[in-house]
Every structure is written in structure tokens, then in C-alpha cells.
Symmetry: C2
Subunit: 232 residues, 2 copies
């Protein structure tokens, strides 16, 4: 977080959904952090988490937006932060089975050695993919800069000329076949790229994915790609 | 729904959270109905449901509010309803364990005879309480009009003069003792009135509460009230 000044006037808002617990985050530089239970923790979805810095709280208590805020998103009332929300009070009803599930996930995190271990697992997953990519003649990273590459949302492009000569629709067709083979073999589910991204492969490298499983996956992707190509 | 005209220009918006499936609803008179899984269905919380009439869809496709709508609440984009949301698409990730749970609840509803049976169970719960209240010398309904009384959120006031002579804080103190006795005996959890309501008792009469359990509860409340009163 070196590029964020300590004496900033604005608020830094960080959507840490897919990153938190799997990457080191310089929290002192963030004023608002949001995340979910279903990503790196591997728990149930539907519950958004938020952490606020004292400066974010101050903003909530001094600024009233000119538009109406839905009740579900109201963190302040009459220029006072609604403290109860941060002390177990609820505006809407959460799912208690999901709460139990995330507590279970947090216990699991402690049992394996805490956040440090989570970060280690995810970094190792990325390294395994990097080693594979560096030896591959058909695949490359979407994010070319190693320093800002995500260890959780690992996104890959096909550089093979046989593939790149196709138009986008044809490329998506090839990938569809590849994903379908891997799904049928019980190897990988939904490793498709983000819908709005270019045709790509996206592998979850979060800390619930064991390093050995990541190692086991990659030769399957090689095999599936060459199957599709050879049968085209 | 006789009081809502068929040729209305406005939209009728119904928060059916606690009522749906336990009461007959004249859906032809409603344009927007919202509800949750955790009430009458007894499933998990955190997922809001919405049903729209063709006229509500038309409004979504013609009216753009002058304020920003959070992504989570966006049902239309560029004057077009986002159809995918109503066909299994998601904006944010739902909890799949909660989805399974509500499917299980719906199977249960079918197995006992459908919504008709749910309505019957809840109506019978209210009737059981009404019979008890009609013979009681210390308790009465908050809603005096039988025709608009809820069969799910059954709310009661204490009419006993020993109680009514207290001020509100003292009344809440008496009720706290009563709830604590019932909790300790494993009879009832959290049958406290809505926080913003006057000091009151609120009994859930939804269709997951068996009629026999409702019958079993009421003498305990008599006993608890008189215990508190006699020990005061």
C-alpha cells in the first residue's frame, strides 16, 4: 500500500472479496474493506462483511447523501453510526446455518495455522500454475505482470496460434468443449473465465484448494486442450 | 383485496414476509410481493424473494429513478428488465445450502397438502390463542379487530390492572422476568413483542408451529405470569 498516502483526505475503499485471507493486505491504508464468506474461507455466501476505519466512520457521521439509502445498506442514522450492527445486532435476518458454517471455517483456519498459512497455500497454488505456464507452448497468463497477478483468480489465455486465429465466438466454442470434457471427467467444474473477460480459463487458487489438487489438475488441462485441438 | 381497484394507476407493493403461505392473499390485486424463506416456510434467512406483475415490470422499464440504485437492487438496466435474475441468474452469490434448505421446505409443504394446509395450521393456531384469551382475566389482543388480526405474528397485551398501573419501564421489567422463566423452563424462546411495539407478548403462529405445541404453551404463560405477579 505504499502508493496510498498516510495523510490522504479521501477514503480508500477496497473490495477484498476474492483476495482477503489469501494475500497480505496493508489494512492501515484502507478505510473500507468488504469481503464475503464464500471465497477464500470456503464458507456459505449471501452475507457481506464490512470493516470501517475511524475516518470512514467519521464520514458516515458527517455526510448525508442527497439520495435515499436502502435500509439494508444504512450504516448511520441521524449522523450517528448504528453501532449495534457491528456488535451482533441485525437489520435483516441473517442465515444462522451460514453463521455456523463461517464459524466452522474460521476454526479450520486456526487449526491449520491462521491467515499466514492461508496466504502460503494460495501463493503456492499460483507458483504451481506459473511453473506449468512457463513450460507450456500453448497457454499464458492474462496478467503479464507477475507483481500484480492474483493468486486466487488465476486467469489464463491461450496463445497457441491454432486457437488465436479463430474469432471470439469460435474461441468460446473451443473453450466450451474443453470445459465440457473436464467436467465430464470429474476433473474441474466451471473453470471458465469471468463472463465479461476475453475467452479465458480461470482457476480458483484460494486456500481451500490443496496444492496437490492444483498439481493434479494441470496435466488434465493439457490433455483436454490437445484432445479438442486434435479432434477439430 | 376488494378495496384495491382493478383499474388502479399506481402499483400495490406488499411486504408479505410474515404472511405469505399462512394467509390467503388476493395476488391479482398486488403488483409487487416480497417475502423471505425463514418465516412461514421455516427455512433459512438472508435471501429476499420478489414477484412482479406485468404492470410492475412495465414501470421498471419506463421509469429511471433520479438517484443511484445499488447493484444488488437493480432489476432493470437501460429500461429493460434483467430477465436472467428471474430465471436462475444471480447478481450476487446466494448460499447454496440455503437454496437446498428452502427446496426441502417446499417439499415438506407439498407433502403435508400444500399452501391450503399451511393456512389451516396457522388459522388454527390463532383460534387456539383466541379461545385462551377469551377465557383469560389478564391478557388481551393488541389488535382488537378480529378481521385484521395476524395469525402468524400473534401479539398480546396485558390488561391486568396490577400490570397496567406500572410505567413502561416497569412493565418491560415484569415481561423480562416472565420471558426469562419461560426460557429457563425450555418452554418459549424470545416471545417478546416487536422492539418498537408497546410492552407485549408476541407468539409465532406460523405453519411450522404445530397446533398441539401452541395448546401446550398457553398454560405455561398463565403460570409464568402469575409466578412473577405473586413473587413481586
Amino acid at each position: 500500500g505504499d502508493w496510498i498516502p498516510d495523510d490522504r483526505e479521501g477514503l480508500t475503499i477496497c473490495d477484498a472479496t476474492s483476495g482477503i485471507f489469501a494475500m497480505d493486505i496493508d489494512c492501515s491504508k484502507l478505510d473500507v474493506i468488504t469481503w464475503s464468506w464464500q471465497k477464500v474461507l470456503g464458507a456459505e455466501a449471501a452475507h457481506g462483511m464490512i470493516a470501517l476505519s475511524p475516518r470512514a466512520v467519521e464520514r458516515l457521521e458527517t455526510h448525508i447523501p442527497s439520495w435515499p439509502i436502502p435500509k439494508l445498506f444504512r450504516l448511520a442514522n441521524k449522523k450517528k453510526i448504528i453501532k449495534g450492527i457491528f456488535e451482533g445486532g441485525t437489520i435483516n435476518t441473517p442465515s444462522m446455518i451460514c453463521v455456523e458454517d463461517v464459524l466452522d471455517a474460521l476454526n479450520w483456519v486456526e487449526s491449520i495455522g491462521g491467515t499466514k498459512e492461508l496466504v502460503k497455500i494460495s501463493n503456492e497454488n499460483l507458483k504451481i500454475v506459473e511453473d506449468w505456464v512457463s513450460k507450456s507452448d500453448w497457454i499464458k497468463f492474462m496478467c503479464e505482470d507477475k507483481n500484480i497477478r492474483s493468486s486466487t483468480s488465476i486467469t489464463l489465455l491461450i496463445k497457441d496460434e491454432w486457437f488465436t486465429k479463430f474469432n471470439e465466438d469460435e474461441q468460446r466454442g473451443v473453450l466450451k468443449k474443453l470445459f465440457s470434457i473436464l467436467d465430464k471427467e470429474g476433473v474441474a467444474k466451471d473453470i471458465n473465465g469471468y463472463p465479461k473477460a476475453p475467452p479465458s480459463i480461470r482457476i480458483w487458487g484460494g486456500s481451500t484448494v490443496q496444492n496437490n489438487d492444483m498439481k493434479a489438475l494441470l496435466p488434465w488441462i493439457d490433455w483436454a486442450y490437445h484432445s479438442v485441438k486434435n479432434n477439430a
